[in-house]
Symmetry: C2
Subunit: 367 residues, 2 copies
């Protein structure tokens, strides 16, 4: 945190591991954590739910735009939300980190803080990991979870007549990214020793071509106050930088009898498309039911060259908020945080107000 404490190369591999380990507590179900050949994590119901996601510098974030803390939060959230989307409770993360030897040790420490904070928010901890040297920062975070005796909620169980509902934000991350890329908002200076931080003044900032999401930092990240009403746009940027999935909504949906569930990483239409395909059904989204936050409308007005449908497009196609979307039998009484947005029908694909949507699909990572 000092910015003057040298590089990870100065510390060496085991020094880095020791430094990070102290900042990343193990979760309550971890009996063997960082420091042995492998971790041992409780799986009380006799199965483990496991998912891995990568986050790569220059592809998923830029160190000039994002604080290490933000990157830690985002890397953890991407994997943790996959576990929630199965209806499971998160128990532990394993963190594989490759980085240049010149990376400031303080940067790695803040990354660990972000990973640990988000894991803790999900009820989990950091149970293990690996470090290696690479030309740019590469993270592969594996999340482990437990089903507490329930069956997993797959993508394949949606049935005609089911209600489709969403828990969490839609379009906020996409709107925040659009604000950053257009230069309407400038990323706060990245903290924690990022090598070349963006001046904290309002100026156009154009990310390198073909780098999809570029991030920035709010400092201090953990204690950032809730945005005031006129900080609505800054709140969208914060949502892009530090997604905050509602992890507990996953097990809640499972208990309610959800027939299918997915976390929205590629966009509402794209991810509902996975449910439609896996379940052999059609999903229709009713736009009057979609939660469109006032901040999204404000952001659309603030941006040059946007149309009246921009906010709706963010909601329909923006990924990375990691909201959960699920199908429920029509008899289920949904708790307030689950917003009904559509229904399951016979057929194929996803329709919006009964018509095929012409918008973009999800990320195609190799294209």
């Amino acid at each position: 945190m000092t910015g003057n404490d040298g590089s990870v190369a100065d510390l060496g591999e085991w020094g880095v591991i020791a430094a990070l380990r102290a900042r990343m507590p193990a979760g309550p179900l971890t009996s063997v954590g960082i420091g042995d050949d492998a971790a041992v994590v409780g799986a009380p119901s006799g199965n483990v739910v496991a998912a891995v996601d990568m986050l790569i510098e220059g592809r998923h974030f830029l160190r000039d735009w994002s604080s290490a803390y933000d990157i830690g939060v985002k890397a953890a959230a991407r994997s943790l939300s996959d576990i929630a989307a199965m209806g499971a409770v998160n128990t532990a993360l394993l963190v594989a980190l490759a980085a240049p030897g010149t990376l400031p040790a303080s940067w790695a420490a803040e990354l660990a803080d972000g990973l640990a904070a988000e894991a803790t928010r999900a009820g989990a901890g950091i149970a293990g990991g690996d470090t290696a040297r690479a030309d740019y920062v590469t993270l592969a975070v594996t999340a482990l979870g437990d089903l507490a005796g329930r069956l997993p909620v797959l993508r394949s169980g949606a049935r005609p007549g089911d209600v489709v509902a969403v828990a969490g934000l839609l379009g906020h991350s996409a709107a925040g990214l659009a604000l950053l890329m257009s230069g309407v908002l400038t990323p706060p200076a990245a903290t924690g020793g990022a090598p070349a931080s963006v001046p904290p003044t309002v100026s156009p900032v154009i990310p390198p071509a073909s780098v999809p999401p570029a991030d920035a930092a709010a400092a201090p990240p953990a204690q950032a106050p809730a945005p005031a009403p006129d900080d609505a746009l800054a709140g969208l940027v914060a949502a892009h930088l530090r997604p905050a999935p509602i992890y507990e909504a996953g097990p809640e949906a499972a208990l309610l009898g959800a027939t299918a569930m997915i976390d929205i990483s590629d966009g509402l239409i794209a991810d509902l498309g996975h449910i439609a395909t896996a379940s052999g059904v059609q999903v229709n989204i009713s736009t009057p039911g979609l939660p469109i936050a006032p901040a999204l409308l404000k952001a659309a007005k603030a941006l040059p060259s946007t149309s009246g449908t921009t906010a709706l497009e963010w909601v329909l196609t923006g990924g990375e908020d990691h909201a959960l979307v699920a199908a429920f039998p029509p008899s289920v009484t949904l708790p307030p945080r689950w917003h009904p947005i559509g229904e399951v029908r016979e057929g194929t694909g996803v329709t919006v107000d009964n018509a095929t949507h012409a918008g973009p699909g999800g990320w195609q990572h190799f294209r």
Copy 2:
């Protein structure tokens, strides 16, 4: 396998996943495999053992030197052996793969074959993963395992009086690497569409400075015949390219009552040092008991500028064979594949024939 089937960018992310999925069967305990938000893998004893290891192009391998199949085997073996070193049985791998869009799809397919073959050899399968785009091939493989009701064998349980024994090869990988780096043996041409393969002729091959281990390929890898007696040196190269840990020796050691265990990834002395530190003991290695294969002596003779102790140095300090080394109470009758090589004493650190060894330690990845 054709070399003419395009790049991963041509396939797109989901095309790649679909292609790889077909080549990577799930293990017997996996009830939900590739294709949902997360995998569901049996953990019959109520705990899961989990470890992650990274393998990075230009750091741990070169595509010109290694076949995709070899890289798959090595990436899998590194993680699978961590599970065995806890005394656990492997159940599943999760594979995170980042690669350039220009990577031939056939290369990715052969990689999947290597991963699947080694997972299957360990009794496991491929349960999930992630793909992303990156400038070079990056693998992060997470292994999951089950303890079958036993306690994990940690690094910290060795007690004075224990016998130290090893199961698996020592120094073979290091000798094979030395043969490749010196040019005494040339890596077989990498198969499967590597962009610039090394001509299959004997010529000096010097890897780029500061790239530690460089690999090469034998084709066809899966069906390579056991080396004939005069293929001893080629066998060492094969051991470097495709480590073959004895996974079942891990649970065997646990059943025998092993007090501490580790897999040798950094070298015998370095990894015994981890046991000595964690257990608060000293470990003495008796060189007369060390298994030094005749091939190692032959390799030392074949290399320029080696001394009579080169073979012993490989055995003491060479990593990457992923042999298992464990401490056992002196009353234990060891099966034939466990070779006694030393003993546990009061004190600190590792000694060789009662003296401190001056050789190099393990890899320091960030230095």
